[in-house]
Assembly symmetry: C2
Homo-oligomer: 254 residues x 2
């Protein structure tokens, strides 16, 4: 039996440097794997390599923390320069308790440390902070446009990040940028098999795809920041991941 | 190139009835698909068919709502008998606003309507409510034991449910029962590629697997309640999904 859905981690993507041509690196990795992009494929790319290629990395030695950053750093036990980088990319603090700092990013994502990463950014000393891409939806669109110009196929691109969740331990990858798809698959009002109408079923398809890719990329000892998903159905269109954000007035958990 | 991970929706699983032999139905579906269980496989089974087979369905005509259910029904615009079924399976109300009712289930899961389902349960009139299985970890274990007795392979079983999330629109499948695996893959302290130690990376592997399976099973016009995932790595062991629950004292979002 043919698999309904197949996931391929693209091997050989090097440590990405500022200014690197990410579309070219991905095309090379696809060629190395003997894969070509097809209609309906999804490329899931971890935000780290997007941020790195876009030159978002910040040397902590160059950061002067604000008084707010110093104060939050004291309360959380974090490096004040790191907190400063988090605050620069944020609209505000959602929760703080002990060493846990949940921020709302400039894009509207609610996540620990505003998604700023200190591990695995090409420095053995941990002295570099890597914020999220400035506009992950735009990053996804640029990446897709560049790859489409070569391949011609109608595929989707997802920029993923590793997220903690309310109520549940452990992280799961979620989508923070999309292109060539709608992030939400709206199944409201479609009759189910027995004729009773589904009343509220909006599926976060982009998050499902990002989580699935995390099964391949989410190992510390691998370097598989790009995963090709083949066979998954998703709504085509010019969507943006920020459409998945629940507006504050509808949000019961801020 | 071989896929790293393959997902197979098992075709031909019929509408499950109370008392049905679910392991037998799954073995028949595997045989129909030409698949045999192998070491390292994961079977993701939607909670609906588990609840149905276990006879958890409740006829609303047989339910007398309590005063609390009547009051909550008035505030939410829901059927009081349905709310009664929700409350019977719950420890308490976490949030209520308008028609949204977030409960903590008897198992400790925080979810809309305590996971009680009214659609797609074999009734065209919607007069049947389907609660979650009484103990999804035990359901997973029984299912795995029965299938192992036949196949001999060392695989995992996940019972999945469709979940809304804080802050993000759309539902994603998550794990509410597991067997043959640990739900959390602990990567704390493992050195990453550059020698900097990962400080907090506990991956909710069972939730990633459940979300991936949702790409196959989550269509209203299909009947693919069992998905086989082949090639995913996960920590073996005798874990329980409830280990993923964040204890109330560590939970910033109750």
């Amino acid at each position: 039996m043919m698999a309904d859905i197949s996931l391929y981690g693209l091997p050989g993507i090097p440590d990405v440097q500022p200014g690197d041509d990410l579309p070219a690196l991905i095309l090379e990795a696809l060629a190395r794997a003997g894969l070509t992009l097809r209609d309906g494929d999804v490329l899931v790319v971890t935000q780290k390599i997007v941020s790195k290629a876009e030159g978002a990395a910040v040397r902590l030695a160059d950061v002067t923390p604000s008084p707010q950053a110093v104060e939050l750093a004291q309360r959380t036990g974090k490096d004040a320069r790191l907190v400063e980088v988090m605050l620069r990319g944020s609209r505000g603090v959602i929760r703080q308790r002990g060493g846990v700092l949940i921020l709302e990013t400039r894009h509207g994502w609610i996540c620990a440390n505003a998604g700023v990463d200190r591990s695995n950014v090409g420095s053995a000393t941990g002295e570099i902070a890597l914020p999220l891409p400035l506009d992950p939806d735009a990053s996804a669109r640029r990446l897709r446009d560049a790859l489409r110009a070569v391949s011609g196929a109608d595929f989707a691109v997802i920029i993923s990040d590793t997220y903690g969740r309310a109520w549940r331990k452990g992280t799961v990858n979620m989508a923070i940028g999309v292109a060539g798809m709608l992030p939400l698959a709206d199944e409201r009002g479609r009759p189910d098999m027995f004729g009773y109408h589904l009343r509220v079923t909006v599926v976060a398809r982009a998050d499902e795809l990002a989580a699935a890719a995390g099964l391949v990329s989410g190992q510390a000892d691998q370097r598989l920041p790009v995963v090709l998903i083949r066979g998954a159905s998703y709504p085509r269109g010019e969507g943006r991941a920020v459409e998945m954000q629940r507006p504050p007035e509808q949000d019961l958990f801020r």
